[in-house]
């Protein structure tokens, strides 16, 4: 019997006609309703800087701090609240490395990215890179699957192993003080000039990583940098 990929409960829902005909199972058919309902979509007014839910749609304290430091806001948009369910999901998807879980947000993220690409006239979509050692042990970059290749996907940045220490093993202060971890890959720097770039990451926590990536891209002449994350 089919089981929910998150909680292992047997799935009682009946298969759709499409599944029966093609054998293709949509994301919804591999997860139970109880698990799906625990994810909280971001709706209503948000902070224009980081995309978190906010009652009054004003800039939040954290984003105010970024602005005071002279950063141009990255105008992050996120699909979901980073609640316990999303943390559990990330733990399984990213840290345990259950690659099957990528299907859950693939469609939603791709749609979201396409919409943003149109709205902001983006001509390059990129992801926050993970170190080559991390890639070799995990076996995948967790956000690549979210990015529609047709939208000008390019990965100009790299990160060295000693720089990208596991974010979750650091305190908030550590994370905020990290120095620029990103470098350009060989020959990539000249291709950045004048581009309108969309950065994709899994979770916006402090914004530190995204602002570092943005600063690196802008140093090479990027015209504008925005970001999208799965959760905030």
């Amino acid at each position: 019997m089919e089981q929910c990929l998150l909680c292992q409960q047997s799935l009682t829902s009946e298969l759709t006609l499409l599944t029966l005909l093609t054998g293709y199972r949509g994301a919804q058919e591999q997860f139970c309703q109880t698990c799906l309902q625990k994810f909280q979509e971001i709706t209503g007014p948000i902070c224009p800087g980081c995309g978190r839910m906010s009652g009054d749609a004003r800039l939040c304290q954290d984003c105010q701090t970024w602005q005071d430091k002279g950063e141009t806001l990255i105008e992050n948009r996120a699909l979901y609240v980073y609640n316990q369910q999303m943390k559990d999901y990330m733990a399984r998807y990213k840290f345990i490395g259950d690659y099957r879980l990528r299907v859950l947000f693939k469609g939603g993220m791709r749609k979201h990215i396409c919409r943003r690409v149109r709205a902001e006239k983006i001509d390059m979509v990129t992801s926050i890179p993970i170190s080559s050692q991390r890639l070799q042990t995990r076996g995948f970059n967790q956000v690549h699957v979210f990015i529609p290749i047709s939208k000008g996907f390019l990965e100009p940045l790299t990160v060295s192993d000693n720089h990208k220490v596991d974010q979750s093993s650091k305190t908030r202060v550590d994370r905020l003080q990290t120095t620029q971890p990103f470098e350009f890959k060989e020959g990539m720097e000249p291709r950045i000039r004048g581009r309108r770039i969309l950065l994709v990451d899994d979770v916006y926590t402090t914004g530190r990583t995204l602002y570092h990536a943005s600063a690196r891209l802008k140093s090479a002449g990027a015209a504008a940098v925005f970001s999208i994350t799965l959760a905030r």
Binding site: C7, I96, G97, Y99, Q136, T137, G139, F140, N141
Partner: protein
């Protein structure tokens, strides 16, 4: 990482990282089987890589990894000693000596002892002797509840380096002479144990699980031996032990010498809708005499309606418990501490809950969920302590199902057999 943590273990190690000196590497995938659990169900990673789904619950083993071990050297800082000085009854004593004798003769054994026979204590002398000789001992159960109940008793009986291993626990692994844990944890061991004891061999999820059976065999050294424990052996288990040249020990009597409580069958088909007068009177009687009780129901969906029926008539505190209840372990602890008078539960609590004066009601006892073994286990919760050797096992069913009759018959036979020796 300390090399000790590889002793008799299977540690997942990324191929991209250099192996610590002194470790032996084994492949994570061999002839289509997972190197850790032997399973064949896999999911793909990016590229040509893949990982095992059969043992994913205890962490991912992928083709990007290898498995490292260091052959078990029995290199303990100190050797464990027993300071348990409890008394065994004459019958327990006899079994206890046989366990030691069989082990020294190098055979696997199955101990069939009725619920409440005091299996654990009978094993203490064998465990104590093994520890003193510097052997590595594992004591596992398929059920985390049982492991948690066992841990403090073992801790009180021995002074030894001890690790308790189960899924939800957070502490990092440390090398120890005695290992207590769920059967699943054996997937992470490789020829580690000189003596491995498996409690409740007939319980889910161990029963009939090929991968776990394989893990058990592999976690024992080739020179080591198994002791299996059960209160409710299946025919298949008895046959298998015989077939493999193992020995069977049997103790049909409870440690206090009193009979197993018999199952009273009450025919009432409509218990989901309303409780019969007789059932109500029974529950009110428990309440009046301040007796703790468990009401077993076949399915999770029965929990709330039954709980409502009970709260409507019994003023004391109670709650519901099922397998995926995140607070399950805490609720059982609270019941033991006397914060609850009763629990409404699925079969998950058929084992591991021991509570003086506990009474048991089984609703829908003819439901296929309740096998003969499950009925025996649930009945076995009752009358276990020396101060309260009797109690009620009240089964409500729409008719006398084959399973109920079989359980009643087995209890009668065991009681007769106990009377004969």
């Amino acid at each position: 990482m300390n090399l000790e943590e590889f002793y008799g273990r299977l540690v997942t190690w990324p191929k991209a990282r250099e192996c610590p000196e002194g470790t032996v590497a084994m492949p994570s995938l061999l002839k289509g089987r997972c190197g850790r659990c032997g399973g064949r169900t896999r999911a793909t990673l990016h590229g040509k890589q893949s990982y095992c789904l059969d043992c994913l619950t205890i962490g991912r083993v992928s083709t990007l990894d290898k498995l490292l071990t260091v052959p078990e050297p029995n290199d303990f800082e100190t050797v464990g000693t027993m300071h348990w000085n409890g008394q065994l009854t004459a019958k327990q004593e006899k079994i206890s000596c046989q366990l030691i004798k069989n082990y020294s003769e190098g055979v696997d054994q199955l101990l069939w002892a009725v619920t409440g026979a005091g299996k654990t204590e009978m094993l203490f002398p064998l465990i104590g002797q093994s520890l003193k000789r510097g052997l590595r001992v594992g004591f596992v159960s398929p059920r985390v509840d049982v492991v948690l109940e066992l841990a403090p008793r073992i801790q009180a009986a021995f002074s030894v380096s001890l690790q308790v291993l189960y899924g939800e626990q957070e502490e990092p692994y440390r090398y120890s002479q005695l290992v207590l844990g769920t059967v699943h944890q054996l997937l992470r061991f490789y020829q580690a144990f000189d003596l491995l004891i498996i409690d409740e061999v007939d319980a889910f999820p161990y029963r009939g699980n090929r991968l776990l059976e394989r893990a058990v065999r592999r976690s024992v050294k080739s020179s080591g031996h198994l002791v299996m424990l059960t209160a409710t052996p299946s025919k298949r288990l008895l046959d298998k032990v015989k077939e493999r040249g193992g020995r069977l020990l049997m103790l049909p009597e409870r440690f206090h010498g009193q009979h197993l409580p018999e199952i009273t069958l009450h025919v009432h088909a409509n218990w989901e809708k309303r409780f019969s007068r007789r059932l109500k009177q029974l529950l009110l009687g428990f309440e009046r005499q301040e007796l703790p009780f468990i009401i077993f129901v076949p399915k999770v969906r029965h929990l709330i309606p039954v709980f409502r029926h009970v709260t409507a008539m019994v003023p004391s505190n109670g709650t519901t418990v099922h397998a995926n209840d995140p607070d399950r372990l805490k609720k059982v602890a609270d019941m033991r501490a006397g914060h609850y008078r009763y629990l409404v539960s699925t079969t998950i609590l058929e084992r591991g809950v021991t509570l003086p004066k506990l009474q048991v009601v089984i609703l829908g006892a003819d439901d296929p969920t309740f096998t003969k073994e499950a009925l025996l286990q649930m009945a076995g919760r009752v009358g276990r302590s020396r101060v309260a050797t009797e109690g009620v096992v009240f089964a409500v069913a729409s008719g006398p199902a084959r399973t109920i009759r079989a359980a009643q018959k087995e209890i009668r036979l065991l009681n007769e057999k106990a009377g004969m020796d």
